[in-house]
Amino acid sequence: MKYWVVAIMVSLGWLHHDWWFWEESFSFLGIPAGLGYHVAFSFATAVAWALAVYQAWPAELERWADSGNRRRSRSRNRPRRPSR
């Protein structure tokens, strides 16, 4: 996975803890500052995930899944013993 995606998500995790609005009592459009910040955070999270989805999509997983080499004769409920 691209490191910048990880960096964005870690940054969001850090930004989640908003010390700056911890005791702010003003409100915007009737929504208290601490609540409004986190609603905006939710939308920012969606944008970040959109970036991750379209820029760091694990396309190889999809190809790998489609190239599945299932052996129908072997049960998926009985694990395969490794060959010696």
């Binding site: 995790g13 601490g34 939710s42 939308f43 997983l61």
Partner: protein, 726 residues
């Protein structure tokens, strides 16, 4: 009785209409059932983006999303959104991206339909499969039970006023509402399996999202109408409703997570006043204190005796709310003055005040206003020419000035949530990575691209539901503090707001349907998941699955699903009055404790079977110990090292997994090839991965057009002339 209760039966008809629509949709969706086990268990992996988004979101949102979130914000304010909703938006999407897509790919490639199949094969251990199966079932069942129990606890008081007499006089009993809900859900999952659950979840999710938005709109307008400016536009109503809470000293703390600035200011003023009174009290001699106390008691008796003679009709030494309301204004002021002075005078006098007026706690604002009015009037009357009035006024002012009792130190205001606690809520949404019913929904995805919309839109869907609910809870607290709303328990806040403020039977019915939708959207997935697990993780491994046709496997799953629903319903009747709610909330902690296992299984090749067993064991043991120390869940504020127990439990599980894995034999490469894409490709070809940096001549085809990324126009690798039969 539920505050939501309405005498009209319209809400009940709305709910019945919702259930009929739901059942109809579920039955209709079963027409697309192909009759195969693959279709029953994973909808033939045909679910597209929108259905996947709605079904996964609906499954993760339980009744807590509407009722519980409002109740929590009634107690803790806006902190609830940041602690639960915005963390969930980030973490759930992360789990879908990191865990969901990968598990989908592995599940598709290997034909898995349950979590246990994946772990059993990943770690090459049937024993691990059975242990994990047992643990997952133990964790899911309480989670499922609270859904059924919540239905009963919600429906009965709500429907009580709708029936005058007969066996429904106390409302629809829990055994009947539970039976109807279980019956409706069983009908469509029996017929169509997980496909019907996905379709039903989509409908239910839309219903409870609409409920949250419509309730928000109507409640904000009703609160704004109570203000001096009255109701206006949508944004104006929200502003006025929040300003209403801001004006309530006992509720404004809910608008911040730390300490409200005005509460800090009030505390500092109270601290200064306390210091002055303490100093004056300490400087009094013993004789002066006794004299002041005698005068104070005489003055209070002078005030209270005439009131008792005139208004204490039953002479029981106390005044009811009705008696208080019936008094003339002057007498109400006198009684209020006496009660407030008694309340300030220490514990013994506070007890006397409560005995004198049992509704003291509810009417503090009214009493404070009357006390201030009495003092104001006394200051005016002290200058009156009427001698009797003047003496009475002097008496009031003298009592207010006397200092016969040691002053009480003011309580320092506390934050609604500490920083560490706020951070530790991060660990709760991690649990979604190990929910077996969410895992099953992941496996239904048509393609990996089906995950894109759920990953992106999940945080927005959470905001649409949680923002209205959190604000409604905070507004309810403001109205309750002002004495304008009666909320018997925090979880009754949403119902109280709708029932008392909006008084619209259609909205009441929609709210009831919305709550049921939120509950049932998790129930159907849990039922079909447990039926799938019993069939594929226990029955078929113990029997020889090749002895059963595909059609028979579907019927085995259906029978198991019926048994699961019957057992769950029976348990809900047996445990109706128990504290299973406490247990269920702890189940999230158990699931989160298993998340290091799934992350390691997917991303760390060095994870061993022994490490997996160790992680499961530590999770189970620590979970049991912490649960016991919390009084089997009774202590809702239980913490470990001042943080939620889920955090140290998950860290311990991860640490043990890593340490034991490093100390034990790594897994066979042959096993890893099935679960790690890179290994599989490397095994298929011994050639280096990247060929694009080689000169074109080495590819044996110098006349070919430029080949970017070593692929031709159709995206296929060109065949090397010397590759032989590979």
């Amino acid at each position: 009785m539920s505050i939501l209760a309405a005498a009209s039966t319209t809400p009940l008809w709305v709910v019945l209409g919702y259930l009929v629509l739901l059942l109809g949709l579920g039955v209709y969706s079963s027409r697309f059932f192909k009759g195969t086990s693959r279709d029953y268990f994973v909808a033939s992996r045909s679910i597209g983006s929108f259905l996947l988004l709605m079904s996964v979101f609906g499954t993760t949102m339980t009744g807590f999303a509407l009722v519980g979130s409002t109740g929590q914000s009634f107690k803790q304010g806006i902190a609830v959104y940041g602690a639960m909703a915005s963390w969930s938006g980030l973490v759930h999407s992360a789990m879908f991206f990191l865990v969901g897509i990968r598990l989908w790919a592995i599940g598709k490639r290997n034909g898995y339909v349950t979590q246990v199949q994946f772990f059993r094969n990943r770690f090459n251990s049937s024993a691990l499969g059975y242990v994990l199966f047992g643990l997952l079932v133990i964790l899911v069942i309480p989670y499922l039970l609270i859904g059924i129990l919540s239905v009963g606890k919600f429906v009965q008081p709500t429907t009580a006023p709708m029936f005058d007499s007969g066996w429904l006089a106390n409302g629809i009993p829990p055994w009947l509402s539970g039976l109807v809900i279980c019956g409706v859900v069983l009908a469509y999952v029996f017929l169509g399996g997980v496909r019907s659950a996905a379709w039903a979840n989509t409908f239910q999710t839309i219903v409870f999202m609409l409920t949250a938005v419509i309730a928000f709109f109507m409640i904000s307008r009703a609160i704004a109408a109570k203000t001096e400016e009255g109701a206006g536009g949508f944004i104006t109503n929200i502003k006025r409703a929040t300003e209403y809470v801001e004006g309530e000293s006992k509720a404004r703390r809910l608008l911040v997570r730390g300490v409200h600035p005005e509460d800090k200011t009030d505390y500092e003023d109270a601290l200064r006043e306390y210091a002055e009174k303490k100093s004056a009290y300490d400087n009094q001699s013993e004789v002066e204190r006794d004299d002041a106390l005698t005068q104070w008691k005489e003055q209070m008796q002078t005030l209270l005796d005439p009131l008792a003679e005139a208004h204490d009709k039953n002479q029981d030494g106390s005044y009811s709310a009705e008696e208080f309301s019936a008094m003339p204004e002057a007498d109400r002021q006198s009684l209020a003055f006496a009660l407030v002075e008694l309340n300030r005078a220490g514990e013994e006098q506070q007890a006397k005040a409560t005995k004198l007026f049992p509704d003291l706690a509810k009417e503090t604002k009214t009493l404070a206003n009357l006390h201030a009015a009495k003092l104001e009037q006394a200051r005016k009357d002290s200058k009156s020419e009427d001698v009797e009035k003047m003496f009475a006024a002097e008496g009031i002012l003298h009592v207010a000035a006397l200092n016969p009792f040691p002053p009480s130190e003011p309580k320092e205001p506390t934050a609604s949530m500490s920083h560490l606690m706020f951070f530790s809520f991060l660990f709760i949404p991690l649990s979604v990575a190990m929910f077996p019913h969410v895992f099953q929904h992941w496996l239904t995805a048509k393609s990996a691209k089906s995950f894109r919309l759920p990953i992106i839109a999940h945080p927005i869907c959470i905001a649409i539901v949680w923002l209205p609910c959190v604000l409604i809870g905070v507004w309810a607290a403001g109205l309750a503090a002002a004495g304008e709303l009666n909320v018997p328990t925090p979880n009754a806040a949403l119902g109280a707001m709708v029932g008392a403020l909006v008084q619209n039977p259609w909205l009441t019915g929609l709210l009831m349907a919305g709550v049921l939708a939120a509950i049932m959207s998790s129930l159907d997935s849990q039922f079909v998941c447990l039926g799938t697990m019993f069939t594929n993780d226990v029955f078929l491994p113990l029997a020889d699955e090749h002895d059963y046709t595909d059609r028979q496997k579907v019927w085995i799953a259906r029978i198991f699903t019926v048994v699961v629903v019957a057992v769950a319903y029976g348990l809900s009747l047996a445990l109706a009055n128990s504290s299973v709610f406490n247990l269920a909330i702890w189940c999230f902690t158990g699931f989160t404790g298993l998340v290091p296992l799934v992350l390691a299984a997917l991303y760390w090749k060095r994870t061993t079977t022994a490490g997996a067993f160790a992680s499961i064991a530590v999770t189970a043991v620590l979970w049991f110990v912490f649960f016991q120390q919390s009084g089997w869940g009774a202590d809702k504020g239980y913490t470990v090292l001042e943080m939620k127990a889920v955090m140290p439990l998950t860290l311990a599980s991860a640490a043990v997994l890593i340490i034991v894995s490093l100390l034990t034999t790594p897994p066979a490469k042959e096993t890893l090839r099935k679960f790690f894409p890179g290994d599989n490709n490397r095994q298929a070809s011994n050639k280096p991965k990247q060929q694009s940096d080689r000169p074109r001549e080495s590819q044996g085809n110098p006349d070919r057009r430029p080949n970017h990324g070593n692929r031709n126009r159709r995206g296929r690798r060109p065949r090397r002339p010397d590759s032989g039969g590979q």
